[in-house]
Subunit: 345 residues, 2 copies
DNA sequence: GACGGTAAAGAAAACGATTTACAGGAGGAG
DNA sequence: CTCCTCCTGTAAATCGTTTTCTTTACCGTC
């Protein structure tokens, strides 16, 4: 917060006694410059505290080295983890990240996309909002820069995507509970309109079916993804005539609601009830026996996302054969802790 | 991810049958353009899907409409809340936000600052790392754009800052516990080298002193800010010969550790022990009687930060009288829930 | 009818970098 | 000695805007 105008490449050139072209070549390690002049140029740049003007550079070169990161919901701790990893990886690769939060609002999402277009970001990483994509796929499909979808896919949109294999995730949870001998199993699934919830439930159901266990449809609680919904669903389940011996909560908000109901009703975990949830959470340590969870590979997802996007950017969609959108699915993992236990005979 | 090169202002001008200057004036609502031509220009821009090239615009106009947001630790939920609010407010004011996470690493912080300088961000919002500022204040002081510090201040640095009044925060907690009649009170303070922790403790101590209560120095637990440190400190306090009747945890990681210890030792809250912490937390609902907390006014802090920075940007540090850095402190609030109760006689 | 004033539109000069195309000099071959 | 070829370094064009400065046209007034 001081100092006059910043030095330009001309002043560096003058101080070093060379032309601006030589300065540019030296700083970008492109073209041939003798060692002597390189020395002089670097010294001059250092002395003046020269920082190249990114706008001027991008205007001429056509690349901004900026990535747009458009997140559906920053408050979601899982997305936050993705944001953190993506920022770190992009930054390490020399890209800056413009962060946008759409807060599940399609209108904000659209405004942010327009802004990223104006900024001529070199690429866009998008966790799309849940709804409002019916007529708007064009907005993403027509993006003039490479784009990639994370965590959520959009049906009928020809764009790279990286997601968790949510069917496998459901199956993993199912197999664990079956291994422990549970038969009366409940699921708090969230909104049935949401693709991810459906996949997790499908995987869970088919996982049980493969072991010869049928999921009781009356023990599937459907509503939305809020903590309140999870709480209400859990209370209904606990009031059942034949109380389930295990519960699978398909999302962390739901799990939080479930835990609250359990605390209020003084249900003992895992003696009276086994519970399994999705994703590690900061407060997991609070839950006494430790939460058994199925985790999404967030770091791997971030890595795959960034590297896939960057190669699209550098390759410039050249080969006409390799041009199809990739749908990458990564595998979840089971982490067993104390909140699940063998069913008592 | 398609379409050829983006249309430029020249193509809009040609389609509308006017000069580029007229297009520019129309789109920026500056200068005089007849209604007829405005109509034609807007129609042409619309039809071509024209989006002005931000780099070209900034190069000429000198303003990027970009703010840098450099955060010491994205994983901290309190900072996350600030990030969320700052992004929303900036976006509403027409600014894009480049997000940088230094992860408490001074080196990353420095690299990010250099990047923001190169990008010619119009302003920088910085939550500085805890350490490593001894010799580096210059890096911030010499920033050529307006900058503002949030949450943490740096001694001897002439820069605007917005923080919580942490002395008041400590006092608020003290008065509440005194109102309830507690006398044997413990504090888990975190690192004594950290200014914020010291302020909170000072406020707490003087708040008690003003009521004629002396804080027992042996009940002040000092270490670092980790969950593990909070846990260890809590175990020591619970093992005390004369166990305290109330505990103040000055930070959310510490509170988490405290809660874990309490759960493990089966201490009943608030019957055996009253606890008070800092900041609302997503998992607060899990704690049975509800957490009594002193909250920092995060939304107000974000608002003040953004508006102060934006006015510095637009006013361009003109008036030589009003030029001094402002240190703004905002007031915390007490939220009483079930985790604190009157001391039993 | 000449003149001045005003408003609207356009021509052209920046902004600060990259990049292309060219110039100059050294060195070697014929 | 001349010609050709590298090899460095430079001049100048260019990217897409904004902005300044002219130009043009129109109108009312004397």
């Amino acid at each position: 917060m001081s100092g006059g105008p910043l030095p330009t490449i001309h002043e560096v050139a003058r101080l070093a006694g060379v032309s601006v072209a030589t300065v540019s070549k030296t700083l970008n390690r492109s073209g041939k410059v003798s060692a002597l002049l390189q020395e002089r140029v670097n010294a001059a740049a250092q002395k003046l505290g020269y920082a190249p003007h990114a706008s001027a550079r991008s205007l001429r070169s056509g690349a901004t080295r900026i990535l747009g990161l458009l997140v559906a919901d920053l408050a979601n701790p899982y997305f936050l983890k993705l944001v953190e990893s993506i920022e770190r990886l992009s930054s390490a690769a020399g890209y800056s990240v413009i962060l946008c939060n759409s807060a599940e609002d399609p209108e904000r999402e659209e405004r942010h996309l327009a802004m990223l277009l104006s900024q001529r970001a070199d690429g866009a990483i998008v966790i799309p909002t849940r709804r409002g994509w019916s007529g708007r796929q064009a907005a993403l499909a027509n993006l003039p820069m490479p784009g990639i979808l994370v965590d959520r896919r959009i049906e009928g949109l020809d764009l790279d995507s990286v997601t968790t294999d949510n069917v496998a995730l459901g199956r993993l949870a199912a197999e664990h509970l079956d291994d422990l001998g549970h038969r009366r199993i409940a699921v708090i699934m969230g909104s049935p309109e949401h693709q991810i919830a459906r996949h997790r439930l499908d995987g869970f159901r088919s996982g049980l079916a493969a072991r010869g266990v049928t999921l009781d449809e009356r023990l599937i609680e459907k509503d939305n993804f809020s903590e309140a919904a999870g709480h209400a669903a859990a209370l209904r389940l606990l009031a059942h005539a034949e109380r389930p011996t295990a519960v699978f909560a398909t999302n962390n908000h739901l799990a939080l609601g479930l835990l609250r109901a359990i605390t209020e009703r003084n249900v003992s975990i895992p003696d009276e009830l086994s519970i399994i949830a999705v994703d590690e959470l900061p407060w997991a340590g609070l839950v006494r026996p430790g939460m058994t969870v199925v985790t999404q590979p967030s770091e791997a997802i971030a890595e795959t996302t960034v590297s896939t996007l960057l190669s699209r950017i550098t390759e410039g969609r050249s080969g006409p054969g390799e041009d199809e959108a990739k749908s990458i699915q990564l595998q979840p993992a089971l982490v067993v802790r104390g909140s699940t236990a063998p069913m008592r005979k």
